[in-house]
């Protein structure tokens, strides 16, 4: 009985991994990283993780959790509450509907898919924030953040692949 309990607890923890690690990614994206020349711009790590799990394990990151992660992103980044939640959910569903294109494909194709997703996310955020602020905001920091996120994409994905292989392959 205790063995079964431990087994079930282990499974529960493993199943919470996509949510937990995405939460950590969002947390890391607001930390003061000792990286010079970034000028205060941080990559959209939460979006990378949501994109990854939507392709490879959507069964472990349901819409409810995507919603919660979006809210956390909004709270931490001082964005209008609901904006990231809306964006994460919409992009999650978009990727989910196209995941057959990415499953089993080479990494560059997955990367190109993310470029499209990140571009949609950046432009939508820029549009909503400009609309809310009543003025067209500068596109320079938006473009920088987009480039930084796309350029760094392999790094967090490599970490996610390692975690998935270590904890989620035996199912």
């Amino acid at each position: 009985m205790s063995f079964s309990f431990l087994q079930k607890s282990g499974q529960l923890i493993r199943h919470a991994l996509p949510f937990g690690i995405t939460m950590v990614f969002i947390g890391v994206s607001v930390l003061v990283l000792p990286v010079p020349y970034l000028g205060g711009i941080a990559p959209m790590l939460g979006l990378v993780a949501v994109y990854y799990w939507a392709i490879y394990r959507p069964d472990l990151l349901r819409p409810f959790f995507v919603f919660l992660l979006g809210l956390l992103n909004d709270f931490l980044h001082l964005l209008p509450i609901g904006l990231s939640a809306l964006l994460f959910l919409a992009l999650y569903q978009l990727v989910l509907s196209q995941r057959r294109l990415f499953i089993g494909q080479a990494f560059p194709l997955v990367w190109i898919g993310f470029v499209v997703v990140a571009l949609i996310a950046s432009l939508t955020q820029w549009g909503v924030m400009s609309l809310g602020g009543g003025q067209g905001l500068s596109l320079q920091p938006v473009f920088l953040q987009f480039l930084l996120t796309v350029f760094l994409f392999p790094l967090p994905v490599w970490l996610l692949i390692l975690l998935q292989r270590a904890f989620l392959t035996q199912e």
Binding site: V30, Y37, P63, H77, L78, P80, I81
Partner: protein, 298 residues
């Protein structure tokens, strides 16, 4: 054998379609909820601001745990860099010191004169300023907002409107004060508007952030004689900050605007001093006010 197979196939298909229905329903539900929150937050920004402060207070300890080792890495990196440039730094400091000794003598003479004049005028000295030193645990380095979360809140005497400084340079002001943490809106944020004066010419302007590292000067008069290299200080207008707090240096003129380089290194702020200048204008939150105005606009 065939009958049970057919039954299990039917059950399996039904279960699959049920899961699809649940997925679609929950997806639509949370999408609507997100949209609802976005609209509600636009109409009631104060409620959302309070909720945000409480949530940041709750998760601050976790952020703090991860931020500490990173701060250590930053310190070690800075130390290694300073060792590498030790000789050059030493020569520069010697020259600077010689100049400063001259300034010290001048300052001492002026201090004596000042004391004498104050005595003659029965001048009442201003009380010492209250300040809190806080560590930065998060930097919302997004493309839309430039703000910091620091480890000091109402319990430490922080209130909205306090000035945030590193060394002697202004970096921003407190816009949200939770119980244990506070949020600082940086002068580089697009919502930041700071009344400033240029040293030397005395020209007044508004320093406006635009989410890049270099805010620019707005509303300069036609006769303004702005020179690259001029020091930018607070003017004291608007009652947000007192006059003559150092902010930055005019660094270049481009696209019809003067850019200002902040004196503080905005990308690498680890500690800030939150100073209470006892002014009332600083309690104004530009982000909340802008949302409030937009929600009541016709």
């Amino acid at each position: 054998m065939l009958a049970p197979k057919r039954q299990s196939g039917w059950v399996y298909t039904a279960a699959l379609s049920w899961r699809a229905v649940v997925h679609r329903f929950s997806y639509a539900l949370f999408l609507s909820l997100s949209l609802g929150l976005l609209v509600f937050g636009h109409a009631r920004p104060v409620v959302m601001q309070n909720a945000r402060s409480q949530i940041i207070d709750t998760i601050a300890p976790a952020l703090d745990v991860v931020a500490r080792p990173l701060a250590l890495v930053e310190t070690v990196t800075a130390r290694v860099q300073s060792y590498r440039s030790l000789l050059d730094e030493n020569a520069r400091l010697r020259t600077e010191n010689a100049g400063l000794v001259r300034w010290q003598n001048a300052a001492l003479a002026l201090e004596d004169e000042n004391k004498e004049l104050r005595g003659l005028l029965h001048y009442k000295a201003e009380p010492a300023l209250a300040f809190v030193t806080a560590r930065v645990i998060a930097d919302t380095g997004g493309a839309f907002v430039r703000s910091l979360i620091v480890t000091a809140g109402r319990q430490d005497g922080v209130r909205e409107g306090m000035a945030a400084m590193t060394g002697d340079a202004l970096v921003g002001r407190v816009i949200e004060a939770g119980e244990w943490t506070s949020r600082i809106l940086l002068i580089t944020d697009m919502n930041s508007r700071l009344p400033v004066v240029l040293m030397g010419t005395g020209d007044h302007a508004i320093l406006a952030g635009d989410n890049t590292g270099k805010p620019h000067l707005l509303y300069l008069s036609q006769e303004a004689d702005v020179k690259v290299g001029a020091r930018v200080m607070t003017s004291g207008h608007g009652g947000i900050f007192p006059p003559n707090v150092p902010v930055g240096i005019v660094s270049r003129f481009e696209h019809g605007e003067f850019e200002v380089t902040p004196l503080a290194s905005m990308g690498r702020i680890n500690q800030v001093r939150l100073i209470d200048f006892n002014l009332t204008g600083g309690a104004f939150n530009p982000i909340a006010a802008k949302m409030q105005a937009a929600s009541f606009a016709p």
